[in-house]
Symmetry: C2
Subunit: 387 residues, 2 copies
């Protein structure tokens, strides 16, 4: 058996509408943060894997090559990975496979997106092209529409309410306000969440995540090297990846994501744990309904019980399982390529007691769930304290 | 040590201006060809890795998810990889790492590009965005320009001639004419090659590869499974990947690609062979000067001797090393994401005596070299007969 793969450090830029910087500067912020906080330097990096979802947002084709030069990784191999909004964790799987296979010892993974160079409506349009371009996009469906269909189905089948959706938004805004790197630091009330302007019925403004700029970086390395870089590495304990049809009309059910359930099952199996052993989770709340489906598909709550769990506070710091204690995509922001890497940086901090005022007590096992598109690709990871 | 990774089958669409089909149909052609020629079926595939360079050519974002559904790989994990024109072989490295690491047993790699939906000038413009968007693109450099700079430097330093460049074109058109899947099946004379319309001095029309549509597919599997799928798998014996600055102005030399030399060195080292043991090579002749630099950077000929080798016939079927016996990017065509996978399909055929009228005698070791951008990323592979 080859060695386990460990995370030896994480870095994170400020997320937000970062009009003053471009793709390169966002990457630099995240990498500088990674190197400042650890005994790492670029000399320790054998290769880079770069997660960028859409060249169209900023116009730079082949972004991995330019980023690789920019961060001083010149001469080192680089590959770009893209899996829509699951780009960041797909990059992690790629890097992890390279290390576990023996091809590389240490790989720097960077996830980044610079989205606000285009208008919000253009960003929505570009993202809609990650839906089915032949059979759905031409008829006007964009992502709020896809998730509105899922919310409607979930409401019809399980009695999920608008109030329960809004409870997710209120919680994530609350935690986002505690996160200095978050895009939106603004508490909202349940009433505000419920009465905001409609986006795609039954979802309104506060049910939707943000269009953000940002970057996050992680160093993965093999276990025997990890202690050279940090006293507190974390271990990649489980990996799961699933998929579903890109065409929503071809799905058997809209009340959950088959690929998410598959990915969770595989990750638990590889990690040798069950859902009740997870201490903290960052899940893909691109829309509030996505968080409710995620906590069901991950097995934290029975199917149909995600809505009641949200309104009952079971996903808060004091509940059964703290979910999106970082603010989530909803408030921390959702720079597409960065999101999956950002989720893992948060779990790295939580498992190392480095999360400041957001720190949770007694966290040993953390989980991330990162969706691409309307759930056409899903990546789930389980991490554990390394020592 | 984990098992070696083998190639158990290859499939290939017709390359060309395929106005009658889209991205999905091109992929289908390559996958159907793969499955028709072997004992494989989709049930044998654990995951897919999809190489597509530019969403902009056809507009479909997150192409891996839609392709995965389309080919019946529904529910199986999929990841898209992009490394400009080295996309196909970057996908191969990713898949190979997944298998070698133990994450997957068998992975289907598909490389595809549908480029002719946009005009040639728009395609050139989109490709130029895989140059340095901040420091070079705004001043009007596109890829013929980048390689023209390299050709000029090579001529100045080594006395390389227009006639030597043209000899590469004549050879590759000759072999392309023998390849029923090639985009352009048309012999040209040295005189025609030398006197064609100028594109970017010192290069003319016949120094440039084609803008093509096409797809290629490969099944990678671990050694213990390979014989289940085919009697004649080939072994991945060596891998090398290098990089160089995206910004051409920052390079120390324009007469060769440092990343290509690095990638070759690492591939030979892993394979435990030297350049003189290679029996057949497919190299990245996006422009004729690129083939001349490739045969030098791969160590087939001394630096500066690539031009004379070309004119002396040393890279023909009867020469020292047969190079681009498929027609190369020059005549077979260059659908960006497909190119690297296509190169490996050709080597798979050659090593299995399946190359028809292009078959070379006594080939045991084959090599591929696939460049991204102006050499900002380079992937080199060495293969050997599996038994």
């Amino acid at each position: 058996m080859s060695e386990d793969v460990m995370i030896a450090g994480g870095g994170h830029s400020k997320f937000g509408k970062r009009s003053e910087v471009g793709l390169r500067e966002l990457v630099y912020e995240s990498v500088a943060d990674l190197f400042n906080d650890s005994k790492l330097s670029m000399a320790d990096v054998d290769a880079t894997v770069i997660g960028v979802a859409g060249d169209q947002f900023n116009g730079q084709g082949a972004p991995a090559a330019v980023i690789n030069s920019e961060i001083g990784a010149l001469g080192k191999p680089t590959i770009r990975v893209e899996s829509a909004c699951a780009t960041g964790t797909a990059a992690i799987i790629t890097a992890q496979s390279m290390i576990k296979s023996g091809l590389r010892d240490s790989v720097l993974v960077i996830g980044v997106e610079k989205m606000t160079s285009v208008s919000s409506s253009m960003a929505t349009e570009l993202m809609a092209r990650a839906g089915d371009l032949r059979w759905e996009y031409p008829f006007g469906v964009s992502f709020p529409g896809y998730y509105a269909l899922m919310a409607t189905a979930h409401m019809a089948e399980y009695g999920t309410t608008r109030e329960q959706l809004s409870a997710v938004a209120v919680k994530n805004h609350h935690y986002g306000n505690m996160n200095e790197l978050a895009h939106l630091r603004k508490e909202i009330t349940l009433e505000e969440a419920m009465n905001a302007v409609q986006i795609a019925s039954p979802m309104n403004l506060y049910d939707c995540s943000l269009i953000s700029d940002g970057a996050a970086a992680i160093l993965l390395t093999k276990e025997s090297l990890a202690k050279k870089f940090t006293d507190t590495p974390i271990r990649i304990k489980g990996i799961g990846q699933g998929s579903d049809t890109m065409t929503m009309a071809a799905r058997k059910s809209l009340t959950g994501l088959q690929g998410a359930a598959d990915a969770a099952r595989d990750a638990y199996k590889m990690a040798g744990i069950t859902a009740d052993q997870v201490d903290v989770a960052e899940v893909h709340d691109c829309f509030t309904i996505a968080e409710i489906m995620a906590i069901e598909d991950l097995g934290f709550f029975e199917k149909g019980k995600g809505g009641p769990a949200a309104i009952d506070g079971e996903t808060t710091r004091d509940g059964w399982i703290p979910v999106n204690n970082s603010g989530g995509l909803k408030a921390k922001g959702h720079p597409i390529g960065a999101t999956g890497v950002s989720q893992i940086v948060e779990v790295f901090k939580q498992l190392n007691d480095m999360a400041g005022i957001r720190q949770l007590p007694d966290v040993n096992i953390g989980m991330t769930q990162n969706l691409g598109g309307s759930g056409s690709t899903i990546v789930t990871h389980i991490f554990e304290r390394g020592n």
